[in-house]
């Protein structure tokens, strides 16, 4: 199969185009996914920041009911998986899931270990590090963002409840966002990119094959048929009209064939003449075709090595010529 010129031409083009388009699509997909996750994380961080600011007034006034309401309302949103506020010890004080209130969070959990890895916990983290992704018991992907509630002078000096001024962090707000819409968008994007890639591949490889077929493979096949015909001696039957290099090749083949045919005719005439003197006379008329040095070679060329007409009929003919 690989000896066929069409296959040999199309295979490298197909491998290169297919492979390169697939690589580009995979890289593009991974970059788009990264950007989308980044946007989602920024959205989560902003939401956590908004919540902290919204809860500030209620916390200063020790208005627990308003704070509970705020947490419950935000937690009721479809895209929010959970909202909770826990204190420095990890005890959950407010949560959208009421049964969680009073429990302790695990400091070694994925979102907490970033701050609690060392002996002294970190006070601040950059935006992207505040986020963690995990799978909830229902098997859904959740992006959780944590925001520290810092001890401000108004908190430490507040009349409602006393905080030590040296305590840097009063609590942590933890917001979990459902990543199902993002995952769904990524699946859709993957399908669209796959279809787009397949269309590009069909168009590119199809286009290359069509152009090669039109300009090279079809004329080449005609040339092959013509050459096979020429080898059998019926050159006049179907001379293809080809352009460019292939056309020149056809002309050259016709020229060679014509020369061979004329030489064959002359040899036939010569062989039909039995008189040695008449043969010599004929050779004298066609010095180029029947020169003494290359005449046997010409006969061999025209009739083939085994069927040299001079050999079986007249073994002494070469010497006589």
């Amino acid at each position: 199969m690989l000896k066929n010129i069409c296959t040999r031409t199309v295979i490298p083009v197909a491998i290169a185009v297919t492979g390169f388009v697939i690589v580009c699509c995979l890289l593009l997909y991974s970059m788009i996914r990264e950007d989308m996750v980044k946007v989602s994380t920024i959205h989560g961080t902003n939401l956590a920041d908004t919540l902290t600011r919204s809860a500030r007034y209620s916390m200063l006034n020790d208005d627990r009911e308003a704070l509970n309401n705020l947490i419950a309302n935000v937690g009721a949103q479809e895209e929010v998986e959970h909202v909770r506020i826990f204190n420095k010890k990890g005890r959950i004080a407010f949560s959208s899931e009421t049964r969680e209130v009073g429990r302790y969070v695990d400091k070694n959990a994925a979102g907490c270990i970033a701050c609690h890895a060392g002996a002294v916990p970190k006070h601040t983290l950059e935006g992207m590090q505040q986020a963690r992704t995990y799978e909830n018991p229902q098997g859904e992907q959740v992006l959780a963002v944590t925001a520290s509630i810092f001890n401000e002078p108004t908190c430490a000096n507040g009349s409602c409840h006393v905080h030590d001024a040296t305590q840097a962090i009063l609590g942590i707000l933890d917001v979990g966002l459902d990543q199902e819409p993002l995952r769904h968008a990524l699946v859709t994007l993957r399908w669209r990119m796959t279809i787009f890639t397949l269309m590009i591949l069909c168009l590119t490889i199809g286009g290359v094959v069509a152009i090669l077929n039109l300009n090279l493979f079809v004329p080449f096949r005609r040339l092959m048929r013509f050459t096979e015909g020429a080898a059998d001696g019926n050159i006049r039957e179907d001379v293809p009209h080809l352009d460019g290099e292939l056309g020149t090749l056809v002309e050259k083949i016709c020229g060679i064939h014509e020369e061979q045919r004329s030489a064959r005719q002359k040899v036939s005439i010569l062989l039909s003449v039995t008189c040695i003197n008449r043969r010599k006379e004929l050779i004298g008329h066609f010095p180029n075709e029947f020169s003494e040095n290359d005449f046997p070679q010409r006969l061999t060329c025209c009739y083939g090595e085994r069927s040299n007409p001079l050999a079986p009929e007249d073994p002494g003919a070469n010497s006589s010529l």
Partner: protein, 155 residues
């Protein structure tokens, strides 16, 4: 003379499979990389202490894109010029480095398929170019051997 040509034929037959060997080696490396992500991550931690933080995944993506493009162009240029394919092992080394870089940046799982697709494309083309070149050389050598055989019979 005959011995020289026979030796050339033997070498061509051997070398025409170099591309396929490189492809097989790359597939083996990819299987190992896929099943040993955790080892790469551990290795990455050791590197991080020695060499500092790795480049971001987007930079490695850009490098992979440029490398794939230039490697394909290079192979096509070599095929057009009809020069002997050399250094079939180098793409395998470069691709292994990409696995290591992605492993060090902690983004190997996401980019595994991109490196695999790039490797199969580059090494597939490389092995085709290698096979094609040595098949042409083999044909010439065999024709030369036939010619010598005919001359031998005539004399």
């Amino acid at each position: 003379m005959r011995q020289k040509i026979q030796e050339q034929i033997r070498l061509c037959e051997q070398r025409s499979n170099y591309g396929l060997w490189a492809l097989a080696l790359f597939v083996a490396i990819s299987i190992a990389a896929n099943s040993q992500f955790h080892l790469l991550a551990e290795l990455a931690l050791k590197w991080r202490t020695l060499l500092g933080p790795p480049p971001p995944a987007n930079w490695i993506n850009g490098a992979l894109f440029i490398y794939s493009f230039s490697a394909v162009i290079q192979i096509f240029t070599r095929m057009m010029q009809g020069t002997e394919p050399r250094g079939t092992i180098f793409p395998v080394i470069y691709l292994l480095l990409f696995y290591l870089f992605y492993g060090a940046s902690g983004a190997q799982i996401e980019h595994f398929w991109a490196v695999l697709a790039a490797g199969i494309t580059i090494l597939g083309l490389e092995s085709y170019s290698c096979w094609s070149y040595y098949q042409t050389e083999l044909r010439s050598a065999r024709e030369e051997l036939d010619r010598l055989d005919r001359l031998g019979k005539l004399s």
